[in-house]
Amino acid sequence: MSSQFLQFLISGITVGATYALVGLGFSIVYNSSQVINFAQGEFVMIGGMATVFLMAAGAPMPLAIALAVLLAVVIGFALGKFAIEPARGAPVVSIIIITIGASIFLRGAAMLVWDRNLHHMPAFSGSDPIDIGGAALLPQSVWVVGGMVIIVAALQVFFSHARIGKAMLATAFNPLAAQLVGISTRGMLLLSFALAAGIGAIAGILIAPITLTYAGVGIMLGLKGFSAAIVGGLGNPMGAVAGGLVVGIAEAMTAGYISSAYKDAVAFLIILAVLLIRPSGLFGRRESERV
């Protein structure tokens, strides 16, 4: 019984960490532009796919990973520069539609440049499960959770202490005032897209040994990552983590104890319930504008 619970918990945390890693990208872009970047899932895909294809082309794993992240960063930068920046000042929904267009475009490009097949990436440190109190844990899950912890800690420092992180937030809250204090709002936007793309790619690489990778892998992960970012409270890296874990654990526990057929439905019900109690997510900034 308790080892079963532990197993569900391990599953929930692994999956939750996956969602959290994807959700972090949403938070970063939101933090500089208040935009939801629906192409975030595609960076996860690009990270995994690029690594796989670079490795197939003979690159050693570390090099393949570095190049894949670099590729994602470049694409993220380009997305910001050529698609988002020219549309600045447009209503937020319009920009969201641009990101949806971008995700369709990137997926189409991935199918052309690479392929539509399923690819597998070897686990970083073997696939012999570790036994924890009767429950089994894959080493790759440790990589995923560890990667998430490191990234989120770095982001937390970035946004709450580094001035450039603050500048990014300021750009989102009030671009006019940001310009007036000498912040390059353009630079912040591009930086955030590049950063989010890079983190998305790292997420994609960390989870590829678990999820496998293919041109469409970003769709569902993007959706779940978005949910994680929202439930946790947009813009707060800790929020994305909390949100990811809430969604992941809710799914695992529902599948384990209630109904696997309705596990996604129950997870979304929990998300709704959280939002009804805390309308700006678990760690979201409370309404700070007043009349």
Partner: protein
């Protein structure tokens, strides 16, 4: 003098949820239509291929079928990667009255029989039957079932439930997972902890097949592990990263063509297909492409026999298919069987040393 080409209409799910199936289907059709034309076409006429990608959406499938019929005025339609997309267009095809060969699994497509509708893949019902037979032969009658949420997955699981009584198999645990799920350990843990389960069956295709195998090994489950022909691709084995060893599944002979005895009737045709496909696309075959291969040549044979493109003539020639040796098996159709395959056309294979091993 230049003859009017034969117009072949195809709609497939080359993108979207069923892209794993639709992509090799599309590649197969493109490859072989080109070959047919290079060999002088059919009835001395070239085959003109019109192919659309429905993105795994039923609404799109219907629109493209209307387009094939009304706009492109094709003589024959092959397509419908998924059951839903096939079912969505059946009405239209029946009304227009032109031969249609589906590439989707479920038995509802041809049961009850519809005048113009045929299909080539084994029904998942056949697959489940084959699996149950194999289980019983090993003395396994109490099973745990896990299925995905897609059309194929659910239909397979549904068949398992429908057949369990007549086949004397008992489903003790019945679980599902969602689209895009990346971890099935909770479901598998439940099955593992269900008292009395002797074997495990997974219904699904794509990435989850490998994930299930991995989680299965991770949890240290040792009871026999069965999957379906949805996993009949080396990508399943590779993706599982060693965890697929020992997984059994029913598949078309194509999958183990190299280990078939030379006397096997399908050996020649299957090896030829395998060679052509792998040569043409530099990627391993899957059995899904085989469905498209069979559909294309069933149609080609029927057109040859009919000697014309008269729709009714072609249709009835398809229906009269007898002993056609395809990749999926040997087809013998009749007015009340628009599939024409039986259980024997499946072989049981087991993953062994990272490859397929034919079971007796």
């Amino acid at each position: 003098q230049a003859q009017e080409p034969i117009k072949l209409g195809v709609f497939l799910s080359a993108t979207g949820g069923a892209a794993f199936l639709g992509d090799p289907e599309k590649k197969t059709i493109e490859l072989y239509v080109e070959k047919i034309n290079a060999d002088g076409g059919l009835l001395g006429r070239q085959v003109q291929l019109t192919i659309y990608d429905d993105g795994t959406k039923a609404k799109e499938a219907l629109t493209f079928v209307k387009r094939l019929i009304d706009q492109d005025k094709v003589d024959l339609i092959i397509g419908g990667t998924t059951t839903g997309n096939t079912m969505a267009v059946i009405n239209e095809v029946e009304q227009a009255g032109l031969p249609f060969i589906s590439l989707a699994g479920a038995s509802v497509i041809i049961d009850p029989v519809k005048k113009w509708v045929f299909k080539t893949p084994h029904t998942d019902r056949l697959a489940v039957q084959k699996i149950f037979t194999d289980m019983k032969a090993r003395g396994l009658t109490k099973i745990g079932l896990l299925a995905g949420s897609g059309g194929f997955d659910k239909s397979c699981a549904g068949n398992a439930r429908a057949l369990m009584e007549s086949e004397g198999v008992e489903i003790l645990a019945d679980e599902t997972h969602g689209a895009g799920d990346t971890d099935m350990t909770p479901q598998l843990t439940k099955i593992k902890n269900t008292e009395g389960v002797q074997a495990f069956l997974y219904c699904g295709f794509g990435a989850p097949t490998s994930i299930v195998a991995k989680n299965y090994k991770q949890l240290g489950i040792t009871i026999p592990h069965y999957q379906t022909h949805g996993s009949a691709s080396v990508r399943f084995i590779k993706g599982a990263d060693g965890a697929a060893e020992g997984v059994r599944l029913p598949a078309a002979a194509l999958l183990v063509v190299d280990s078939l005895p030379d006397s096997h009737p399908q050996k020649a045709i299957a090896s030829a297909y395998k060679a052509a496909y792998e040569d043409g696309y530099k990627e391993p075959i899957s059995t899904f492409g085989g469905h498209a291969y069979d559909a294309l040549f069933l149609a080609a044979e029927a057109i040859k026999r009919a000697g014309s493109l008269d729709k009714e003539a072609v249709r009835s020639e398809i229906e009269k298919t007898n002993g056609f040796i395809g990749v999926d098996g040997i087809f013998t159709m009749s007015p009340d069987d628009h599939l024409g395959l039986d259980n024997d056309s499946f072989v049981m294979v087991e993953v062994h040393d990272g490859g397929w091993k034919l079971q007796e």
